[in-house]
């Protein structure tokens, strides 16, 4: 059986902030770009983000995530990017060949440049009862609430006091749920102060230095017991949802599949394709960007996407080396700024060790 084959100059897998920025950047140099995404809407996780972003104007400060997604989508249309939603990339093979499934079946697409911008997946946390219905990723709860207008529960326990845990807690409150507590095994809140204050002002109690002992219920979570780490104090919550905000892992199986060497970084969430500062992997014509290249923030994903787009355009001959270098210098400056501060610096060091791995 032979499958229909399509040849393109450049293909981007994933149309979140990284993929869209890679596509826009390359298309603006005149490259022929197609973006593939299994979802029916463009924007990746940005479409679930209803809080205002901060940072610089270049990264959409003051705007809500879904507004940034809309802007990037319009920008890519204007740049002549072909957006193929509802197209799942099943496999990526050496030589830039990929197997894609759409509504009508499977086809093969071959591109001279492929950007893997497939994002991340949520980590789980195993405790007795963690497989009960009602225990889910915080991102899953965010999807239910902000995208579909459905509550994951009425009384929610949030596990993890990083940014995701804090932001999703606040969004659950906005949607009318009760957050019975935010628990973290650490003694300190990992997320930004501004997010912590928002939930604290709403009266949500923090249980720092605590861990989940067990979730119980017949058809789903009904109660959760927690305890102080190394202490005697125990508490039982009546709750119908437990959200796990315990980190993300890069989702880059496609890169591994086509032979990219994978490297591990605890700080960046797990295994990711080795890449240099220009987002090139060790496979010619394969680039990586965004959370798939190590979990950081949306603004970093955008810059990494731009960098990957520039490298691809350069390698395709759509852009001269000098011109590409100038544009890359600007991206490097933004990445340096974004990775400032104690939190960003740890990421920068981790990223540098990936480049050297």
């Amino acid at each position: 059986m032979s499958l229909p084959l399509e040849e393109r100059e450049m293909a981007v897998v994933g149309c979140g902030p990284a993929g869209l920025c890679a596509a826009i950047t390359a298309a603006k140099t005149g490259a022929d770009v197609v973006v593939l995404d299994e979802n029916d809407r463009a924007g990746g996780q940005l479409i679930k983000q209803i809080h205002r972003f901060f940072g610089s104007r270049r990264h959409g400060a003051g705007k809500r995530g879904y507004e940034i997604a809309g802007e990037l989508e319009r920008e890519s249309e204007a740049a002549g990017v072909e957006m193929r939603l509802g197209n799942t990339v099943l496999g990526l093979f050496p030589g830039g060949e990929m197997m894609v499934e759409d509504r009508d079946g499977v086809y093969v697409l071959r591109a001279r440049a492929v950007v893997v911008a497939t994002g991340a997946s949520e980590k789980g946390l195993a405790f007795p009862g963690w497989t009960l219905p009602g225990v889910m990723g915080a991102g899953a709860a965010q999807t239910l609430v902000n995208l579909h207008g459905v509550l994951p529960g009425r009384r929610v326990l949030m596990v993890g006091a990083g940014n995701v845990g804090l932001i999703v807690s606040y969004q659950l409150l906005q949607a009318g749920a009760e957050v019975v507590g935010i628990l973290d095994v650490s003694e300190r809140v990992g997320g930004y102060e501004v997010h912590r204050l928002r939930v604290q002002r709403e009266g949500v109690p923090f249980y720092l230095g605590h861990r989940v002992v067990q979730a119980r219920g017949r058809y789903g979570v009904e109660e959760v017991s927690v305890e102080e780490v190394g202490g005697a104090s125990r508490k039982v919550f009546r709750a119908d949802a437990v959200c796990l905000a315990v980190g993300l892992s890069p989702l880059a199986e496609l890169a591994a599949m086509c032979g990219c060497r994978m490297v591990y970084s605890r700080e960046l969430g797990g295994f990711m394709p080795w890449h240099d500062g220009d987002m090139r992997t060790d496979q010619p014509g394969v680039y990586v960007a965004g959370d798939a290249a190590g979990v950081e923030e949306a603004s970093v994903a955008m810059e990494e996407g731009r960098m990957a787009g520039l490298s691809a355009a350069e390698d395709l001959g759509a852009m001269g080396r000098k011109e590409a270098e100038r544009a890359k210098d600007e991206v490097r400056r933004f990445l340096w700024e974004l990775r400032g501060g104690p939190y960003g610096e740890a990421k920068r060091r981790a990223k540098e060790s990936v480049h050297c791995a």
Partner: protein, 108 residues
């Protein structure tokens, strides 16, 4: 009603997203029983909105399982949809008259 007793429900008023328009109201059949859902929303969301968290039972232990990732990765939400088994209900949109069955109940 056992596995259908639990809350969840739809978001009412919302300070940022003023209202969830969603698709038109349609009826789907879950284990043979009619359930009101919104056209185009994922089946898993429709089930949660109706207070139903269980999508399947673990094959060997019989423990209940429900949606975990909501983005098509974990397979905990797989059910039988219109006779097709192992359909990820977090990814499949609601269509009028759709038949959704808990895996064990549909086999045999």
């Amino acid at each position: 009603m056992g596995d259908k007793e639990n809350p969840g429900g739809r978001v009412g008023r919302h300070p940022v997203l003023d209202k969830f328009t969603g698709g038109r109201e349609v009826v789907i059949f879950v284990d043979g029983e009619p359930l009101s859902a919104r056209e185009g929303e994922p089946v898993a969301a429709a089930l949660y909105a109706a207070g139903r968290r269980v999508t399947r039972y673990a094959r060997h232990t019989g423990e209940p399982r429900g949606p975990f990732c909501m983005i098509g990765l974990c397979a905990e939400c797989c059910m039988t949809v219109d006779g097709v088994s192992n359909v990820r209900t977090c990814r499949i949109p609601v269509r009028e008259g759709m038949r959704v069955d808990t895996p064990e109940r549909s086999s045999g």
